[in-house]
């Protein structure tokens, strides 16, 4: 039972692998994938209260990891639901696409349970390599091959980041003589005056920063978002971030004593991410690029919760990243629906969306206002709690800078809302989302509002989960 979600995923991968061996109808494959996704989500729900240690204590199953597995599976299911049409992928490789999707999710699920340097590395690589392949799997209808460019960029940056990480891990092992996370970090916490310890920590963090797209490991984001198909981008933009935050919290929560050096590093990265992301997003024309840059800024906000080193701060960070995933999924749902044959969506392609499909326009507006942090949506509550947490730890300057960033960000979100609501369709066709997509979007809207209006139970649950690893 402890390993149930991972086993289900593995089984699901095998099923689609078998499907890939024979020629399967595209519709069958899609329905199969959704069914398997639901089964995986169900498995995570079943095993949510499991605890225990596996594989010589390298793999820890606790409430924290199980909650994240549930979130990862849930987000994956949502991506499968609204990306079911899979417009950007050639039909004949549908089974392979789902195969790599499931394997990547498997890697992410293993990542949140890993408490040992090597298993962290293996899990991270498993999830990354699957996505490296998913990116160039796009239909090359334009013959520009820019999905190849995106794939190569993603691979090179990814390999570099994990290279750093591995190098940092070797330092950690050298300094502490162990690969077990709890031992390593506890020992490192006593030697922050040793530059090697700080460098080792920085290098290991860089691996997660890469997944979370934090400055200065964000360079892949815009090009990969643009080059990958809309459905793949929806996946990359949301699901891996959950796992990255989980592991970041696991790592940072073990730091005891005076971790001021690490706090300073996190603070600089947070501020730089916010400013870089928001300022770059201002000038984007492709909505996926814009969301990519906004994602960099939001990752900076998440760090704001982590750098408090408090349980409430971690809980806020979890609340925020879950909210971010939901808001982002709402936006990507609209992108996937608006895109006719899987092509990229420019911001101006959204003109007159309110006439072409009122529900999509409404979903997009709510998603963007939520991302901008306007109440009563989840984005505001998350931001508010992060700022309150950081300020109660005395980080006044960073809170002010973060608040300034909110004001910058509103402009580009608002520009998109303006296009959808205030301009005519100009001969762009009507969009009729499938019933499944509409239901998903209503569900997303409801939960975005609900989490924003009554965050208490979510925060409590996140705190309980965090407490199990402290």
């Amino acid at each position: 039972m402890q390993f149930l979600p991972e086993l289900t995923l593995l089984g699901a991968s095998l099923v689609v692998f078998i499907a890939s061996l024979r020629s399967t109808e595209a519709a069958t494959t899609r329905n199969l994938a959704i069914g398997l996704g639901a089964a995986i989500f169900g498995a995570t729900l079943l095993s949510v209260n499991q605890t225990g240690k596996l594989f010589f204590d390298a793999y820890q199953v606790d409430l924290f990891s199980q909650v994240f597995k549930m979130l990862i599976a849930g987000a994956m299911l949502l991506v499968l639901l609204f990306g079911q049409a899979l417009k950007g992928i050639p039909e004949k490789i549908y089974p392979e696409y789902y195969l790599f999707l499931f394997i990547s999710v498997l890697g992410l699920m293993m990542l949140v349970s890993s408490v040992e340097l090597l298993s962290i590395f293996v899990a991270l690589e498993l999830s990354s390599f699957a996505v490296y392949i998913m990116v160039p799997m796009r239909d090359d209808s334009g013959k520009f091959r820019f999905q190849m460019e995106a794939g190569i960029k993603y691979l090179l940056f990814g390999v570099t980041a994990t290279g750093f990480m591995l190098f940092g891990m070797s330092y950690m092992y050298g300094l502490t003589g162990s690969t077990e996370l709890s031992v390593v970090i506890t020992k490192l916490s006593t030697m922050w005056d040793n530059p090697a310890a700080v460098i080792a920590m920085m290098m290991v963090l860089s691996g997660f920063f890469y997944k979370l797209a934090i400055f200065p490991f964000h360079f892949w984001v815009p090009d990969v978002y643009e080059g990958a198909s809309n459905e793949t981008t929806a996946f990359i933009a949301t699901v891996p971030k959950l796992a990255a935050v989980a592991l970041l919290i696991r790592l940072v929560s073990l730091i005891s004593g005076d971790g001021q050096v690490i706090v300073n590093i996190l603070m600089v990265c947070a501020i730089a991410s916010m400013f870089y992301g928001n300022l770059s997003a201002l000038v984007q024309k492709d909505i996926k690029r814009m969301l990519g840059f906004s994602g960099i800024a939001h990752a900076g906000f998440v760090l704001l919760g982590i750098l408090t080193f408090q349980i409430t701060g971690y809980a806020n960070a979890i609340y925020y990243i879950v909210g971010y995933v939901l808001m982002n999924l709402a936006c990507f749902l609209v992108i996937c629906s608006v895109s006719k044959k899987g092509e990229n969506v420019m911001i101006e392609d959204l003109s007159g969306l309110h006439k072409r499909s009122p529900i999509m326009a409404f979903t997009l507006a709510v998603g963007l206002f939520a991302l901008a942090g306007i109440p009563p949506f989840v984005g505001f509550m998350g931001k508010f709690m992060l700022l309150a947490g950081a300020l109660s730890e005395g980080y006044l300057l960073i809170v002010i800078l973060a608040a300034v960033n909110t004001a910058i960000a509103i402009y580009y979100y608002l520009s998109v809302v303006r296009i959808t609501y205030c301009s005519g369709p100009e001969e762009r066709g009507v969009i009729t989302p499938s019933i499944l997509t509409s239901v998903t979007s209503v569900f997303l809207l409801a939960i975005i509002v609900f989490m924003g209006v009554s965050p208490q139970s979510f925060i409590d649950y996140a705190s309980t989960a965090v407490q199990t690893i402290m």
Partner: protein, 508 residues
């Protein structure tokens, strides 16, 4: 918690007022019938207005406590409560909001032709948020409603606005949001320094350090001065007013601008009294600058809506002047003038909207000489114009008189500097009135124009009623605000006396 009074006769009246429009809006989302949307919105806003009447009847005029209080814990871990209540400072603003909304719906009856349901949904959500802002006694609740209001207002301008609606709506949104982000930081700072409580009355009259008070005050000032708007933060206002549909302009002028001045009274003065004392002179002179600047700019406008918009800058300058002279006459005059400005300027925007519906132009020269053909309309317009520049026997006269009296008491030079503003107001309003009623020898042919219909008369009549009621018998209005204002000023002066005593002790 001794500042809170629960009124047992009306235990949930405030929540009803807040959530009734919201519920109406949510229901309306599922309806696809324009006629139904109009009548539904009218019904909901009228019902809200009727339900709000007990507020003034049952309001206890002898106490400065918050009345009709409702208190429920909302987010426990952060100690955020849902707590609403009204006192003398907010009761009239609440009434103004509830009473003006049905008239806004009526004014949009034929003006809004496209996407009627969505328009009415925005109006109803606006009403919910505006009422909530005036009632909220928890700072997070206040901030959430204060920000949430931006979305429907943005939509009102951006979708149903005039030709430059996109520019105007984005400017409005960015200005207001940018102003209030520092307010958020200030709120969190106060929360941490008040034993982790967002309860507004707990934050008042505390001894924060001088430098902290200055920063808090500046954060408040930025948010509220943009909303008022005070010179030099006023540039969003003419754009937004001009482009907004009539109902949007009325809501902006009558209610939204009052939130800034309400914020000064509710937050800036009680929470940062020391900084208020230090920075009041600067704000007073900014108010004077606003009065004079608004007056001169209004004098030069050829667009009627812009003219009224700039006159708003001047009028709101009087209000901030009255607030920051910090004596009874000044503050009472300021609150009364907030109501008066809501009535008069709201009515003027409605009048201009009615002309616009006929001529499809906001230009003054296209509306010249309609007096002959629209006698009822110009009668209304004349009274509202007279009221706008504070003609005796109209409402604004009482407000401006009190403010100027308070200013004389405070500083004679300041009062003398404000006087030209009153003269300018007469100049630009009479200029507009003269052109609209008589015009010149080159009037366009207006003979085809029809006079007001019954609906339009019904819209304007209540405004006229209040213009004269407040103008001739302001006593009941002053009574309802008096105790709260006295309490505010007593606390303010008491705080400073206490500080003076402490400093004296230290120096000894």
């Amino acid at each position: 918690m001794d500042q809170l009074l629960i009124n047992p006769d009306y235990p949930h009246i405030l929540s009803t007022l807040i959530f009734l429009p919201l519920a109406g809006a949510i229901l309306l989302l599922f309806v696809r019938n324009e006629y139904f949307a109009r009548y539904w919105a009218l019904g909901i806003t009228t019902l809200t207005a009727i339900l709000s009447i007990p507020l003034v009847i049952a309001f206890d005029r002898g106490t400065s406590c918050y009345q009709f209080v409702e208190q429920v814990s909302w987010i426990k871990s952060l100690n955020i409560q849902y707590v609403v209540g009204i006192d003398g400072i907010s009761v009239l603003l609440v009434m103004l909001t509830t009473l003006i909304m049905p008239l806004c719906v009526l004014a949009s009856w034929s003006y809004i032709k496209t996407r009627v349901q969505a328009f009415m949904v925005c109006l109803l959500i606006m009403e919910c948020a505006m009422l909530g802002v005036f009632m909220a006694l928890d700072f997070v609740l206040f901030y959430i409603l204060w920000e949430a209001m931006l979305i429907p207002m943005y939509m009102l301008i951006a979708i149903w606005g005039g030709p430059r609606k996109i520019y105007a709506s984005i400017k409005f949104f960015l200005y207001t949001l940018a102003g209030s982000v520092m307010l958020l930081v200030a709120i969190i700072w106060l929360y941490i320094h008040n034993g982790y409580s967002f309860f507004i009355p707990d934050m008042m009259w505390q001894n924060y350090s001088s430098s902290a008070q200055i920063f808090l005050f500046l954060a408040f000032f930025l948010a509220f001065a943009i909303k008022v708007p005070m010179f030099p933060f006023h540039t969003w206002l003419p754009a937004a007013h001009v482009e907004a549909p009539t109902a949007g302009s009325v809501i902006l002028a009558s209610v939204l601008l009052k939130m800034g001045t309400y914020g000064f009274l509710r937050f800036a003065i009680p929470i940062t009294p020391e900084a208020t004392m230090t920075l009041a002179p600067a704000i007073l002179w900014l108010s004077i600058a606003g009065i004079i600047y608004g007056g001169f700019t209004a004098l030069a406008q050829s667009d009627m809506k812009k003219l009224i918009a700039y006159s708003s800058v001047g009028h709101m300058g009087f209000v901030t002047l009255g607030i920051f002279v910090l004596n009874t006459a000044g503050v009472e005059g300021a609150i009364l003038q907030m109501i008066n400005h809501g009535i008069t300027t709201g009515a003027l925007f409605l009048c201009i909207g009615m002309i616009y519906e006929r001529t499809h132009s906001r230009e003054l020269r296209d509306a010249t000489g309609v007096g002959k053909h629209m006698p009822i309309f110009v009668t209304f317009l004349t009274f509202f114009s007279l009221s706008s520049f504070g003609f005796p026997a109209t409402n604004s006269f009482v407000g401006e008189f009190l403010i100027l009296a308070g200013t004389f008491e405070h500083n004679i030079w300041l009062a003398l500097a404000a006087i030209p503003g009153a003269v300018l107001a007469a100049a630009y309003m009479l200029r507009m009135l003269q052109k609209i009623v008589w015009g010149g020898t080159d009037n366009p042919d207006q003979s085809w124009i029809s006079d007001l219909n019954l609906r339009e008369i019904v819209i304007l009549a209540p405004f006229l009623f209040f213009v004269f009621w407040i103008g001739l018998g302001a006593e009941p209005f002053i009574n309802i605000i008096h105790v709260s204002v006295e309490n505010l000023l007593n606390n303010y002066h008491g705080f400073h006396n206490q500080v003076a005593v402490v400093t004296e002790l230290i120096t000894q």
